[in-house]
Structures are given as structure tokens and as C-alpha cells.
């Protein structure tokens, strides 16, 4: 028999390779972060000087010094209102159904596989759906309502999946306890499960809405205007019944479209405006995502 060779050198070599890999990975991490934060910093540096009050209260203009994002942010706000009203009840409802009500049968299998697949459908396909169905099929036109419907469908899978995961994380004993007290399934859901699952559901809703704010492609397909010099009719009016829904049918533009438009122009002055619009967009979406992460983090800490 051969004497077993000394293992120490081989172990040392393996350790060195470990260290080498860890260093290489940290370098990759460093480079990736550097590139990203470099890009974002560049955007902020170019855009920040334009972020004054006029920028938020002016209409877009052929003259870069006068151009602003008033119709864009108003449009984004109104569209998001529609998205929230539609997507939250529908998404949370579907999540509750799949997690608490559905038994294993072919219909529920189809629904489940379908939602997973919908999450992977490119956003521009939703735009084509809306163009064929809402704009021309139902005749809603190129309106705020169409945009809201489209983006609501787009973020539905995000909210459904978040609701399901939040409900799934709740202990079985909660349901059994509620049933033992005589609650029926709906009472169990409404009085016990939903309040406990609220942070998880809220996280999903915020992430979904922030996704909808930044979406550009589907809104282009349904014909958002790229140059707009008016606001939609106000939702509150002077005459009875004081509330008007005319704005739902109004043509519109949104922030990402405005940024896209300025980016694709040849003049550098517009590129700076694009950077400024990008900063506004980035602040909104990142703040929402950060809020979502914080809500989940806090809920995890409270649960221990």
C-alpha cells in the first residue's frame, strides 16, 4: 500500500481557490453596483438642475427652457387611480380564492398555471390586447380608462401571487381556531386571515403599482399622446353632482412616455429634460419599492 500523501497542501490550495473566488465575486458585485450607481448618478447630475417648480407646472414645449411635465404627472396620477381601483380588489380576490377556496380540480389547475404564465407575458403584448379589445373592440378609445384597465391587468399576477404567499404563510391553526368558533369560510378570511396577511398583501400591491407607474410599452401601443398641451377635465366640478368622470375618457400622456419622447429627440437640451423626468420617475418607483420592502421587513420583525 502506498502511504497516503499529505493532504495539507491540497487543502491549502482549495482554500486559496475559495478566497480567489470570493474576491472575484466581490469584484463582480462591485463593478455591477458601480455601473448601476454610476448610471443613476449621471441621470441625477444631468436632470437635477431642471427640477424647479416650473418643471412641474409647465406644459411640454418646443422650447426646452419652457418645457415641463404637468400633463404627464397629472396623467400618471389619474391612470394610477384607475389601476388601483381595479387591480387591488380583483388581485386580492383572486389570491383569496386560489389559496382559501379552491379545491384541486382541473379549473383551478388551469387558473393557477395561467397566472404563472401571465406574469411572464411581455408587457407590450398587454398593449396589443388593449389596442384590439379596449380601443377598437369595446370602443373605449385612447383614453385614461383604457390605460388604467391595461395596466391593471398587467399587474394583476403580481398582486395575486403576493396575496397567495401572504395567506399561505399563516399557520393552519388560525383557520382551525376560527372554524372552531363557528366562523364560516368568509368570516375566517375577512376577520382573521386578511388582517394577519395585510403586510404581505400590501407589499405586493405597492410593488405592482410601482411597476405600473414605470410601464411605457403598453401605453405607447394604446396610443398615449407624446405631445399634449391640455389637462383632462377635473374630477370635481362646480355644478351638481360635483363629481365628474369625464376625465376617464380623456386623451392623456404619462411620465414614462414624456421621458421616452424627450430621449428620442436629437437636441441635447431635451435629453436633459429626459434626465429630469427620469429622476422624478426613479424617485417615485424606488420610494414605492423601498416602502414595500420596509413594510415586509417590519412585519417579519414583529412576527419574530
Amino acid at each position: 500500500m502506498h502511504p497516503s500523501p499529505d493532504p495539507l497542501p491540497r487543502i491549502r490550495a482549495a482554500r486559496r481557490r475559495d478566497l480567489l473566488f470570493a474576491t472575484a465575486a466581490l469584484v463582480v458585485l462591485f463593478i455591477a453596483s458601480l455601473v448601476l450607481f454610476g448610471l443613476i448618478l449621471d441621470l441625477v447630475v444631468r436632470g437635477a438642475p431642471h427640477l424647479d417648480a416650473d418643471f412641474f407646472t409647465n406644459y411640454p414645449s418646443r422650447r426646452p427652457s419652457r418645457a415641463g411635465i404637468l400633463p404627464a404627472w397629472v396623467g400618471t396620477t389619474l391612470v394610477m387611480l384607475v389601476v388601483a381601483v381595479l387591480a387591488i380588489p380583483l388581485g386580492v380576490g383572486a389570491g383569496i380564492y386560489l389559496e382559501e377556496y379552491a379545491r384541486r380540480n382541473w379549473l383551478n389547475d388551469v387558473i393557477e398555471i395561467n397566472i404563472t404564465n401571465l406574469a411572464g407575458v411581455p408587457s407590450i403584448i398587454y398593449g396589443l390586447l388593449a389596442l384590439g379589445l379596449f380601443v377598437h373592440g369595446v370602443g373605449l378609445g385612447e383614453s385614461i380608462l383604457t390605460a388604467g384597465l391595461t395596466l391593471a391587468l398587467l399587474i394583476l399576477p403580481i398582486i395575486v401571487v403576493a396575496t397567495r404567499e401572504a395567506l399561505r404563510a399563516l399557520p393552519r391553526e388560525m383557520r382551525e381556531g376560527a372554524f372552531a368558533l363557528g366562523a364560516d369560510r368568509w368570516q375566517t378570511v375577512a376577520l382573521f386571515l386578511l388582517p394577519a396577511a395585510r403586510p404581505g398583501i400590501l407589499t405586493g400591491i405597492i410593488v405592482g403599482l410601482s411597476r405600473a407607474i414605470g410601464e411605457t410599452a403598453p401605453v405607447i401601443t394604446i396610443g398615449a399622446l407624446t405631445f399634449i398641451a391640455f389637462l383632462p377635465p377635473p374630477p370635481i366640478t362646480a355644478e351638481f353632482p360635483w363629481i365628474s368622470f369625464d376625465w376617464l375618457w380623456s386623451p392623456f400622456t404619462v411620465l414614462p412616455i414624456q421621458m421616452f419622447n424627450w430621449t428620442s429627440r436629437p437636441q441635447p437640451a431635451f435629453h436633459e429634460l429626459a434626465a429630469a423626468a427620469g429622476v422624478v420617475l426613479l424617485v417615485m418607483t424606488l420610494a414605492m419599492n423601498a416602502l414595500a420592502i420596509y413594510v415586509r421587513y417590519r412585519a417579519r420583525r414583529l412576527l419574530g
Binding site: 404564465n117 407590450i124 384590439g132 410593488v207 414605470g214 424606488l286
Partner: protein, 312 residues
């Protein structure tokens, strides 16, 4: 105090039959409503397939499916239009492959590091940051590609055109990196610790454990991460529409500009193709192609992901 109706003579809870009827009615109502919201997602898919097919079928009837799949020119706005999807597919594949060349190696290394090497503290910082980055709007990445990365590349590669697939692909790679890292790390963490401990007990180093035990164990999950990243890149619109150029060109040269399927849809949407015209219908045919391609990647990806979940 409870109302008298709700208790029997011993004071025990005894709901009235009217109360029970109301409750049963509400239960049935809620069940129906929730079922409806659940089936809505199926309607959305049906709606997508229906709208794409409804306008794509007359398009194929006029152009011919064979021509669509084999013609090497896509010139729908010329006097004598030609409708071959190959140039658009070439643009889509080239930009997506560049993105994957960035995202797969970097994503795998980072996922191995986060899952097998990093301290818990670092992981707890990096994971939320990855999620945060996934929220950056794609139009912002388009801006980066055209106005920051392309000028930089032009300094390195003289003669690089202002619209090129290289810049769009690189930025798209950075864009899908957080997504790929996140999925790949999930796949590796799903490998049970017992396997790792076994490997350590046999004297494996961390890297050896990662390469010989964890990666083979997470193989299907890793493949799924790459496929889902690919699907994301193929369907991405704004980065390529802004930075990769608008001309459909049958080329795989990343230093040239070329339109992708998504770019073409954006281009037609920004102009005004009359409803029902061949140009209008062509975006649905292009969209159907995109839908089928991404669906294949997604189905394969989700199937593999489910598989790795079931193994452990």
C-alpha cells in the same frame, strides 16, 4: 349583551334561522365573487390569444405564413412591402444573447457568492437592493443605453453607429441581472443543507461544494433562471426601441443597429396605421410571434422550477 333571539333558554349561543340564512347567502355570494376574480385571469389569457389571432389570421391569409417565416426582408412601409419576420427575429435574438452573455456569468457568480459564501448580514443588504433595482422603469434603462453607454462605447470602438445592438444588449444585461441573481440564488438555497454538510464532512472546500454539489443539485432551477431571464430579454421593449435602431436588418453583428419585434410594434404604434390595414394587422402578427417565443421559454422555465422544488 346578546340579543334574545341569539340565545336559547340556557343562555347558550343559538343563532336565529334568519341570521343563519343571511350568513349562508353571504358565504355563497362571496364564494361566487371570488371565483369570478379567479377566472378573470383565464379570460385575460383568452383575450390575449383572441386579439392576437383575430388580426394575425387575415394578415397571414394575405401575406402567406411561409413568406412570413422565410422571407429575409421586413419592409412594411415601402411601396412594395415585404413581410419576412427573420430580420426582426435576428435583432431580437442578437440583443437578447448579448444581454444573457452579461447576465448569466455575472448572475451565476453572484448567486454562488450570495448563497454559499456571503455572511448573512451582507445577504440581507444585497437581497432588498436587488429587489429595489428590479423596480427601475425600463425607459430609464433605454435612456442609459442611448445617451450614456453608447457615447462611451463610441470612444472605445470608433465608427460605432449611434444606434447599435451592442449598447442595448449590454444595458439589457445589467437590467435583467438582479432578476437572474434572485432566481438563481433561490434555486441554490433550495438545495438542502444536509448535502452541503456531507460535502464539508468529506473535506470539500466551499467552492468545491458549490461546483460539485450545489450547482448539480440546483441544475434545473438554474436553467429556469436563465430561461426566465431570456424570456424577459426577448420581450423587453423600451431599451431596444430607444437604443438599438429602427431599421429591420437581417444581421447578427452587434455593432450594427437593427429593429427587434418589439421595436417594430412601437414604431407602428407611434405612427398612425389605420385600423384594419395590413400595417395595423402586421403588429399583431409580430406580437403573436413574440408571444409564442416568450411562452415557450416561460413554460420550460416554470416547468423546470417546479421540478427542482419537487426533488427536495
Amino acid at each position: 349583551m346578546k340579543s334574545k333571539q341569539d340565545s336559547d333558554s340556557h343562555g347558550r349561543f343559538a343563532p336565529s334561522s334568519a341570521f343563519l340564512r343571511r350568513r349562508a347567502l353571504r358565504a355563497r355570494l362571496m364564494h361566487t365573487l371570488l371565483l369570478l376574480t379567479g377566472t378573470l385571469s383565464v379570460l385575460v389569457t383568452a383575450g390575449i390569444v383572441y386579439t392576437l389571432v383575430r388580426d394575425a389570421v387575415p394578415f397571414f391569409a394575405e401575406v402567406g405564413l411561409l413568406t412570413f417565416l422565410t422571407d429575409t426582408q421586413w419592409t412594411p412601409l415601402f411601396a412594395q412591402p415585404r413581410y419576412g419576420i427573420l430580420p426582426l427575429l435576428a435583432g431580437t435574438l442578437t440583443t437578447s444573447l448579448i444581454a444573457l452573455l452579461v447576465a448569466i456569468p455575472a448572475g451565476t457568480v453572484l448567486a454562488i457568492y450570495l448563497s454559499e459564501f456571503a455572511q448573512r448580514r451582507l445577504r440581507e443588504v444585497v437581497k432588498p437592493v436587488l429587489e429595489l433595482l428590479a423596480g427601475v422603469p425600463t425607459v430609464v434603462y433605454g435612456y442609459f443605453a442611448l445617451l450614456v453607454v453608447t457615447p462611451l462605447l463610441q470612444r472605445l470602438i470608433p465608427g460605432l453607429p449611434g444606434f447599435n445592438m451592442l449598447s442595448a444588449g449590454l444595458v439589457m444585461g445589467i437590467m435583467i441581472l438582479p432578476y437572474v441573481v434572485s432566481l438563481a440564488e433561490d434555486a441554490m438555497r433550495a438545495v438542502p443543507d444536509a448535502l452541503r454538510e456531507g460535502a464539508y464532512a468529506l473535506g470539500f472546500s466551499r467552492l468545491q461544494t458549490a461546483v460539485r454539489v450545489v450547482i448539480p443539485g440546483a441544475f434545473s432551477g438554474l436553467t429556469a433562471a436563465y430561461l426566465l431571464g431570456m424570456a424577459r430579454a426577448v420581450g423587453e421593449t423600451m431599451v431596444v426601441a430607444i437604443a438599438a435602431g429602427q431599421n429591420p436588418r437581417l444581421t447578427f453583428n452587434p455593432l450594427e443597429g437593427a429593429a427587434t419585434i418589439t421595436t417594430y410594434i412601437v414604431q407602428v404604434s407611434l405612427g398612425d396605421a389605420p385600423y384594419g390595414s395590413l400595417a395595423y394587422r402586421s403588429i399583431f402578427a409580430a406580437g403573436l410571434t413574440l408571444f409564442v417565443v416568450t411562452l415557450l421559454f416561460n413554460i420550460l422555465g416554470f416547468w423546470l422550477r417546479r421540478r427542482f422544488r419537487e426533488v427536495y
